[in-house]
Structure formats: C-alpha cells, structure tokens
Symmetry: C2
Subunit: 144 residues, 2 copies
Amino acid sequence: MTDAEPNTGLLLFYPYRALESRVLAALADAGFAVTLAQARLLQRVAEGGSRLTDLAAQAQVTKQAAGGLVDQLERQGLVERVPDPSDGRARLVRLAARGQAAAALAAPVVTAVEAEWAAHLGPEAMAALRAALTRLREITDPWA
Amino acid sequence: MTDAEPNTGLLLFYPYRALESRVLAALADAGFAVTLAQARLLQRVAEGGSRLTDLAAQAQVTKQAAGGLVDQLERQGLVERVPDPSDGRARLVRLAARGQAAAALAAPVVTAVEAEWAAHLGPEAMAALRAALTRLREITDPWA
DNA sequence: CAGAACTGGTCAGGTATCTTGACCATCCTC
DNA sequence: GAGGATGGTCAAGATACCTGACCAGTTCTG
C-alpha cells in the first residue's frame, strides 16, 4: 500500500518526524524530560504568551488536553501562567526562564538539520521546498 | 515563537495534518470508526501483508503498542492475521475485505487533496515538491 | 443596566495509546 | 543440538486525550 508511491502525506511525515526526533533527543540529552505531546504544545507558545484555547486550537486538541499539558510544563518550570491584562477570564501561557533555555537549545538543532537537508537537496531545491510549503500552508493551516 | 518564520518541521506538519484530517473525516462519514493511531498503522500495512514488528518499527512504537492497535483493527474487520508461510513464529497482518474497502474509499480523497495542492501551487511546483520530499526521504526515513 | 448568549478555563470520569518488563515459541548459526 | 537472536504475547502502569458538566468573566441586546 505504501511501497510503490507513498502519498504526499507520508512523504511530508518522514522528514517531519526526523526533525522532531532530533530535537527531542537533544532536549533529552540536556536534561529536559519533554514528551512528544508536551513539545508539540511548547513549540506553539508565542513570544508574548498564548491563551490556552489558542494553543489547543493550533495543536488540534481539546482545551482540557492542552490544559493538562500546560500543567505538566508548568510543573517542570518550562512555562508559566500569567493573567491576561486584556481579559479577566483568560490567562496567558508563556515561556518561563527554563523554557527559554530549552528553546535556545532546540533552535541550533533545527538549524543543523535544515542545513543537512539543504546539503542533500541543494540550496535551490531546499529554498523551493520551503517556498512551496509556505504557500501550501495558506490552504492547509486554518490558523495561518 | 512560531509566527515569524516557522521552522521547516512545522511547515511540513501543516499539510500533513490537513491531509490526514480529510481522510479520517471521509472514513468516519462512511462509517469506519478509525482512530488516528489506528489509521497511521493501517496505512502502513503492505500489499502482501506486514509483520507486526515491521509495522511497529515503521510507526516507531513498540511491538506491544502495534499489537494492541492490530487487535482493534482486527475486531473491526479491517485487517486479519494470517500465519507467515516463511516463518513459523511470525504472522502477517494484511487488509481484510473491509479494510480494502476503507483503502478504496481513502484513495480518491488523497488524490483529491493532492489535486487541490497542485492547483494552488501549480503543477511544476507540486512535482518539484514531491521530488524534493522523495529525495529527503532518503536521509530521513530509516526504513526507506 | 439586566438578562441572555458567548467565551476562557477548570473539574470529573473514561477510553485509548504507549511504555517497560517478563515470558514463550521458533528460527538460525556453529 | 545448544545458545543466541527474532516474532509475538501477556501484564501492569503511566500518559494523553476525549466527552460532559460546570463556573467566571465578557459582550451583546433590548
């Protein structure tokens, strides 16, 4: 079913998972015991803080699931919840100091993997790949 | 963290998830109550049947986890386990009649989504995308 | 400005997924 | 044919995720 011509979805998945694994492994080596689900949420915490509901929508899980993951991340000191000044009901989830350290550690790993890909594909093809994916996001990311 | 320039991993993920959601929704509409994890395994069942260990390796889960998913799929009549003629220990997981029906239903959905992407990107860019992803698989899919 | 309706978030209970560890049966190698 | 590797299962537990119910604030409407 998959061997002859994997569908584009599967083709997208292989490198995605490869990158994810590399980052997760690097974090684990550095003592950040982050699970896959936690990392997926953490990755989506915006610069100035994100609302739980937004995080849930982006990760496409229920707000309860997202809330539980934030609890864990908070316990590990990776994120913190602060009141949202613009809405009394809401609280903003944002990176805590340790979370920023984790992000700082992850960034070069991502860069390195992307460089490996560029080396394998050639710079033009890599740029074209990113361009195509960015355009594809317009019609596949309801959150773009 | 993600807004300015999402890393390539995230860019890969958006269309991947979009395709997956579409297929899953189509299956659900047709009465196939397949969960995400089940679908991910099911997708990897090869034409002539796959060993449980192989499925587990491809999906990057333990054989126990894969075994549990196969149990569920078997209960739904989507796959069946048959003895492997070439190895007395092994059993082959292969699509049952209902599983083939599900695959037959999913295929045109995949084709349709890919066509939408091609329409958005243009045929050349879409072909280039697939080509780049296929090459990328060489260094990101330990199973290729 | 008082409901009414909506939105952000939590609590409770349940299922699905996935893990480690132990175990058996069959193969393979020498 | 003994020893080790491989395919698979059983068992127990942690995590991730869901539905449904609920509360607290906000916004809309008259």
